[in-house]
């Protein structure tokens, strides 16, 4: 078990290093922030001086080496635009992003699992059809459209929930639905097909023959067997939600990392982009690691194999 964990942590570290190299190089190929920082009449000497001050005159590999060295001590540089430590800018926004991703994921699971299970149990019935249409709707509509519709109905029309902002429990409901509805379709299909496989298996037939109540067979024994592929998918979707919540964050004025990083890209604010991507990568790796470890919880065969 510990050997397996060590191996996964090592692989995760390599992934994070790779992501940091790619974002470092790509951001620098995309443009020069110095011209955006200096006055219009900046002389070539001033431009050179500013470039030196920000260390942008050195070879890319040297710049990267310095960045890694400082990053390891917690110094991710200062935002060119906001003139504050990039790390603080990202860490201040990170809880909001994690909160949104967690609730988005919870929403998707809360819909996908019962709909997937019921669709498998009542294959071809009205529950199966309605459930699949609802799930497909989320995938068919882009998040910005879903977000605007939710605001229109639940904020303006019914006045039940706030249209924007961050802070209370009610603020997270609409953004979480807008973010979490999209993966519902895929998750539903995974649960449904895994459940169909399990429900057709010999041990389920044996359980039925032994008179085990159907409720227990479906929701305890079969669902647990069908959970492994869903868990794999949840890890991927959670990571995607962390990094891809920009649209939802913008629609709901949610103060997360996504908006901060995308705006930093526009202004070539390299330290913020690098810190943002690095922390998103770390969360991505961690979430996948957690998923890997959780397989053992739902399936003893995997636990024993390790």
């Amino acid at each position: 078990m510990w050997g397996y964990l060590g191996q996964r942590v090592w692989q995760g570290a390599i992934s994070i290093l790779g992501a940091s190299i790619i974002i470092f190089m790509i951001s620098r190929l995309s443009g020069d922030p110095i011209l955006m920082l200096l006055p219009n009449d900046a002389t070539p000497a001033m431009i050179t001086e500013a470039r030196q001050a920000h260390g942008l005159d050195r070879p890319l590999l040297v710049q990267y080496g310095i960045w890694v060295q400082k990053a390891l001590t917690g110094d991710f540089g200062r935002s060119y635009r906001w003139e504050m430590p990039a790390l603080k800018l990202i860490l201040d926004r990170l809880p909001a992003t994690i909160e949104l991703a967690v609730f988005g994921l919870l929403f998707s699971v809360a819909i996908a699992v019962p709909v997937g299970v019921m669709s498998a149990v009542h294959r071809g019935g009205w529950i199966d059809r309605v459930g699949r249409v609802f799930a497909m709707l989320g995938q068919a509509m882009p998040a910005f459209w879903v977000g605007l519709l939710l605001i229109l109905v639940f904020a303006i029309g019914l006045n039940w929930l706030p249209a924007f902002g961050y802070g209370s429990a009610s603020h997270v409901v609409l953004p979480a639905i807008a973010l979490g509805w999209y993966p519902v379709a895929a998750q539903t299909r995974i649960v449904r097909s895994a459940m169909l496989d399990v429900l057709d298996s010999d041990h389920v037939r044996l359980s039925r023959a032994l008179g085990t109540p159907e409720r227990l067979i479906v929701w305890k024994y079969a669902l647990r067997n069908a959970a492994v592929p869903l868990l794999t998918m949840l890890g991927v979707y959670f990571a995607a939600m962390l990094g891809g919540a920009f649209v939802v964050e913008t629609i709901f004025a949610w103060p997360g990392v996504g908006r901060t990083v995308v705006e930093a890209v526009f202004s070539r604010d390299f330290p913020v982009v690098q810190a943002g991507v690095l922390f998103t990568s770390i969360l991505f790796v961690l979430s996948n690691l957690l998923v890997d470890l959780s397989y053992g919880l739902v399936d003893p065969r995997i636990r024993d194999a390790r």
């Binding site: 020069d32 011209l35 009449d41 070539p44 303006i156 249209a163 004025a253």
Partner: protein, 523 residues
Amino acid sequence: MMKSITGLAVSLLAALPFAAQAQAPKPATGTLTIAFAAEATMMDPQRSAAGVDQYYIGQMFEQLIRTGPDLKKRNWLAESWEVKEEGGKPYIDIRLRKGVKFHNGDPLTSADMEYSFKRASDPKISRWTHLQAAVEKFEIVDDHHFRIRFREGDGSYVAGDLTLWAIPKNYIERVGDEEFGRNPIGTGPFKFVSRTVKEEIRLEAFDDYWNTEHRPTVKHIIAKVIPEDLTRVAAFKTGAIDWIDAVPPAMVEEFKKMPGVKTAGFVAPNNMYISMDALNKDSKFHDVRVRQALAHAIDVDAIIRRVLFGQGERYVQVSKNAIGYDPDLKPYPYDPRRARALLAEAGFPNGFEVPCYNLTTPREPYQKEVGEAYFAYATAVGIRCRVQGQEYGTWITFGRRDRQGHMEGLYSNMWGHGLPGDPGVAWAGHVHSYVHGGGWGMTSVHNDPELDALVKELKTIMDLEKRDAMIKKIARIKHERVAGGLPTYRPVVTLAWRETKVTFSPWPSPGFWRGLQEIGIKQ
């Protein structure tokens, strides 16, 4: 020898803000939540880089002069000022208002303004050093009297409201630049309370604000940052917000009809135009007939009507109310036939293909769509556009001559100034030819020696009447030669507030039209 160049009637105006000073003002009360579409990057007025910073900075900091609701200059922190001349060089003699305090209780003195000048001239701090380039010396006469001496005339200094912000020297020296940026202190009507990036800024009324006539009546302001248009509108409709900035153009009419809601629309101090490569001799736009063809090809009025829902104002060279506005100068009429004929005369009967660069980041409402319309109209007469979208970072670097040798083709562009406006600084940037390291023509793809000489001369003119005449002269030549780009429109920005709850008298000037000191809660 000392002589007065212009009186500017400054003393008369000086008395205006104090008509009600003798009355004891009511204490500010209540809390109001408002929404802006964008947020400040910097709260330090001299480190500020973006126009949007002014919305917030303008609540906490003040300058020597301010543009009033009638678009006329008013003395603000300057009690009086006058442009004079000594030894053949101009200087501005300024008397500072007495009794003005910073939010920490320190009095405003000439030493603070001198410190402001020094910071504004330091390229390590300020991004606006070019505005101080002509100043030779800052001379303190006494605590409330100082002179700004110029090595040569600088008309933009007067046109730009004397440019200097009142900042607290002692406080900044004590806490440092970084802390000042985090916890800004000015003389303005509101004190800074807190800020959460991407979320909100909180302000509190400054009880010792010097201008009792314009003292805030709302104690606490919570300014939410809601970048998405429809969400900002939704926040207003649900009652979470009682005042919003930047109503989306497509919804202005709906807002006007909304019961209990009041709106005010203002022409923004941003001038949209199409830049074209007239510099490179191989460029098709080097020929004035091709530039005129483009001017005839685009139906700007239709774009304003259809793309901007009427939320734009056409301008020819200089906007209405600005110094040098010439009502006799008319835009090129939309005439595609004439455009094709001009192209044929220039040797392009079958037209030609050209790259056309469009800004896709919404710096102004529907700007991407407007660019697409420009280029579709150009294509229709034979200037066939290969449209290339650029996000903001690419776009702004692309336009800079010190970065780019020269730009090929067409480029959707803009230039800004304050209100009522003076094009001097902007023309130095995009009409005057590029001078490497000299600060001229930083975004220019034009080279016209006659216009270069006139723009250079304009910079030195501080007398407003002479300046007005010179701007008119340049505008006419620029218009005839379609030099330095084709001006199109100025966006209209609409503010809205709940009339049943809020009182508001906007001042139509950037930073101040959102002047929250003019906002109140109905009792």
